[in-house]
C-alpha cells in the first residue's frame, strides 16, 4: 500500500512538473486598462534631408563629437533594382554604417569597428551597460530624435551579442558577451507597440556600438499626464471579459498531437503587415511554436507563429499577425535524377 501511495505521489509530482514545464509563457501583462483607444497608424517615409539630420544626431551622440559636414544620402542598390533602403555617409565618420529602411521608417546605425571587436579587454557588466544606454536615451530625447515620454524603462528587454570558439577536439572552448542589446518599444497609454521602438547596443568597451530607431507613426495628441488621445478615426473602446489567450490558443489553434511552446504573451498594438495605414486596437498577442512528434527522428519544431485575440469581442476569431506576403511559388516540373 505504502509503495502504491509512493508511486502515485511520484506520478503526481511528475505531472505537476510536466504541466509547469509546458507553461513556460511569460506572465500576461496585467497593467492593461479597462478603457483603451484604437489609433490610426501609418508607415511614414522620411525625406533624404530628414534621414541625414537624424543620422547626424545619432552619430554625434555615438561619437560624442560634432560633425562639420552634412551626410551624403543615397539609394542602396538591391539586386532587383527596387529602392528599399537608403544609406547615409559622413566623410568625417566613415566607420559608421547608416541605413534607412524606407518600408519601416527605421534608421540603423552601426559602428563597424566595434562590431568586429569580438575580443574585448574587459568583461561586460549589464548594469554599467544599462547606465550607458540610459545616457544615450536621454541625449536622443534632448536632440528630439525620440520623445522620452513614449518609452518605459521598466519594460526594457535585454539581450546580448555572444561569441564563442573552440578547437575541433572540443578543447579550448570559450564563449563571451561582447555587447548588451537594450530594446524599448513605444508605449501608448501603458500598452506597448510591436512596431515602433529603439534598440541601443553597448559594446563591452562601454561605447555605443549600434542604434536602431523608428517604426510606425501614431495619430494622437497629448491628453495630459503622459496620456495620448486618438485623432482621426481612432476611438476609445471598453475592454470586455475575454477568455485567457493561452486557453484559446490551445482550444482553437493547436492541432491534435502538437504541443505549443509559448515564446511570449502580452497585450500589444500590432500594425497589420499587409497595410501601410490602419486603425489599430490592442490585442492579446501570443507568439509560439508547435512541436510535432516525428516517426523517423526527434520531434520537429515549427517556425514561430504570432496571433492576436480581440480584447473587445470575445467571439472574434484569432488574427494571424504574421501572414505570408505572397502565395508559395512552386515548380510545375518533377525533380528527377
Amino acid at each position: 500500500m505504502k509503495r502504491l501511495i509512493a508511486i502515485a505521489l511520484g506520478c503526481s509530482i511528475v505531472l505537476v512538473l510536466l504541466v509547469f514545464s509546458v507553461s513556460t509563457a511569460e506572465p500576461q501583462d496585467i497593467r492593461v486598462p479597462e478603457r483603451f483607444a484604437s489609433f490610426e497608424m501609418q508607415w511614414d517615409t522620411a525625406t533624404p534631408e530628414n534621414i541625414g539630420a537624424r543620422a547626424r544626431a545619432v552619430v554625434e551622440i555615438m561619437t560624442g563629437q560634432d560633425l562639420k559636414r552634412r551626410a551624403t544620402v543615397s539609394a542602396v542598390k538591391s539586386t532587383d533594382g527596387v529602392v528599399r533602403r537608403m544609406e547615409a555617409k559622413f566623410l568625417e565618420a566613415p566607420r559608421f554604417e547608416i541605413e534607412y529602411l524606407r518600408e519601416y521608417d527605421e534608421l540603423r546605425v552601426v559602428d563597424s569597428e566595434l562590431a568586429v571587436s569580438t575580443r574585448p579587454r574587459s568583461d561586460l557588466s549589464r548594469d554599467e551597460a544599462l547606465r550607458s544606454a540610459r545616457k544615450v536615451f536621454e541625449q536622443l530625447a534632448d536632440r528630439k530624435v525620440i520623445d522620452a515620454q513614449h518609452y518605459d524603462w521598466d519594460r526594457v528587454d535585454t539581450a546580448f551579442t555572444m561569441v564563442g570558439e573552440g578547437s575541433n577536439d572540443g578543447k579550448n572552448t570559450d564563449r563571451r558577451r561582447t555587447e548588451a542589446r537594450f530594446t524599448l518599444r513605444r508605449v501608448l497609454n501603458g500598452i506597448e507597440m510591436a512596431n515602433a521602438g529603439i534598440r541601443i547596443v553597448i559594446h563591452a568597451s562601454g561605447r555605443v556600438s549600434s542604434l536602431r530607431i523608428g517604426g510606425v507613426s501614431v495619430a494622437s495628441r497629448p491628453a495630459g499626464g503622459g496620456r495620448e488621445e486618438p485623432t482621426g478615426t481612432g476611438r476609445w473602446l471598453q475592454r470586455r471579459p475575454t477568455a485567457d489567450p493561452i486557453a484559446r490558443l490551445n482550444r482553437e489553434l493547436v492541432p491534435k498531437d502538437a504541443k505549443p511552446k509559448i515564446a511570449w504573451s502580452r497585450v500589444m498594438y500590432v500594425m497589420p503587415e499587409n497595410k501601410r495605414t490602419a486603425v489599430v486596437q490592442p490585442l492579446n498577442v501570443v507568439s509560439y511554436s508547435l512541436e510535432f512528434p516525428s516517426k523517423d527522428g526527434p520531434p520537429a519544431v515549427s517556425r514561430r507563429i504570432t496571433v492576436g485575440f480581440s480584447l473587445v469581442d470575445p467571439n472574434a476569431p484569432a488574427i494571424d499577425l504574421t501572414p505570408p506576403v505572397r502565395a508559395p511559388q512552386t515548380e510545375r516540373t518533377r525533380k528527377q535524377y
Binding site: 542598390k77 539586386t79 555572444m162 575541433n168 510591436a194 511552446k261 516517426k295 519544431v301 508559395p328 512552386t330
Partner: protein
C-alpha cells in the same frame, strides 16, 4: 581520369618525372578546384506544405523564391525545389550505405545550399515523406563538403533550433566554411533571406545574417536568435573567414581548406524559445 606513366629509364630521369608528376598534379588540382568552386552556384530546398503529406507540422510562408530571384540577378545559377520535390535524401550523404542519399546531386552539389522549413537541434524536417523519411539528422546522415558532392561551402538553415547553441557540436561533421541558422524558433518574413543576401554585398555574411534576422522586419520584439557558425584552420583563420566571407560581395566563394581545426560563432542572443 588523367593517368601519368613513368618509363623506367634511369634514376635521375625518374626523379625528374616524379617531380613533374607532382607539379602537374598539384597544378591540375588547383585549376580543377578553383574552376569548380569559383562558380556561383546554389541549391535551394523549401517545404511550405506540411498538411497531410506524412510529415505533419504547421504550413509555412515561402522564404526562398525572392532569394532565388536575387541570386539569379547577381550572376548565380542553381536549382530550387519545393514540397514534393524537396526530399530529405537531398541532404543524406550519398556514400553512406542504407540512406539512399543523393546529396552528390543536390544538397552538396552547389556552393551555397539552403533548406527552409521546420527543424530541431541539428535536424531538418521536410514537408513530404519520401521513402518513409521526413527528417535529416545533420549529425549522422549528412556530410556537407565531403564525399559525394563535396561542393558546399555555405549552408543556410531557415528552420527552428538547427544551430541551437547547446547542441552546436552536432553540426560539426561537415567541411564547409559557414552555417547560418537560429538558436531558437524564428519568425521569418518572406523576403528576409533575400535581404540577407543583398546585405552580404557590403557586410560580411556573419554581420549580414545576424543584423537582418534579429527581428521580423518592422517589429521590435527581438523574436530571433540568429547565429553564424564558421570554421577555419585555426583561431586566427576562423576569425578571418568570419570577417571576410561575403556571398554577394564575392569574397571567399570557394570550398575551404580541409580539415577544419577551429570553429567560431557569433549570435544575437534573444533566448532559445521553442528549442
Amino acid at each position: 581520369m588523367i593517368k601519368f606513366t613513368i618509363s623506367p629509364v634511369n634514376t635521375s630521369h625518374r626523379s625528374f618525372c616524379r617531380l613533374a608528376h607532382l607539379v602537374v598534379a598539384g597544378f591540375l588540382s588547383l585549376v580543377i578546384t578553383h574552376g569548380a568552386n569559383g562558380q556561383r552556384t546554389y541549391y535551394l530546398d523549401e517545404s511550405t506544405d506540411f498538411s497531410g503529406n506524412g510529415c505533419e507540422n504547421a504550413d509555412l510562408n515561402d522564404v526562398t523564391s525572392s532569394l532565388r530571384t536575387a541570386l539569379n540577378s547577381n550572376g548565380w545559377s542553381g536549382q530550387r525545389w519545393t514540397n514534393p520535390n524537396a526530399w530529405p535524401q537531398d541532404y543524406y550523404e550519398s556514400t553512406t550505405a542504407g540512406l539512399s542519399g543523393v546529396d552528390n546531386l543536390f544538397g552538396d552539389n552547389a556552393l551555397f545550399t539552403v533548406y527552409a522549413g521546420h527543424g530541431n537541434r541539428a535536424s531538418l524536417q521536410f514537408g513530404f515523406m519520401r521513402n518513409s523519411r521526413c527528417n535529416v539528422n545533420l549529425e549522422t546522415q549528412a556530410r556537407l563538403g565531403l564525399s559525394g558532392g563535396a561542393r558546399a561551402a555555405y549552408a543556410m538553415w531557415v528552420t527552428s533550433c538547427t544551430l541551437n547553441l547547446d547542441s552546436l557540436s552536432r553540426n560539426f561533421n561537415h567541411q564547409i566554411r559557414q552555417q547560418f541558422g537560429y538558436h531558437n524558433s524564428p519568425s521569418v518574413k518572406d523576403d528576409q533571406p533575400r535581404d540577407f543576401f543583398n546585405a552580404s554585398d557590403g557586410k560580411t555574411n556573419a554581420r549580414a545574417w545576424i543584423d537582418e534576422m534579429e527581428d521580423r522586419p518592422g517589429w521590435f520584439t527581438g523574436d530571433n536568435s540568429p547565429i553564424v557558425l564558421t570554421f577555419g584552420l585555426d583561431s586566427g583563420h576562423c576569425d578571418w573567414v568570419r570577417d571576410t566571407a561575403k556571398l554577394r560581395g564575392g569574397q571567399l566563394l570557394s570550398t575551404p581548406p580541409k580539415p577544419w581545426g577551429w570553429f567560431c560563432w557569433i549570435m544575437y542572443d534573444h533566448g532559445a524559445s521553442g528549442c
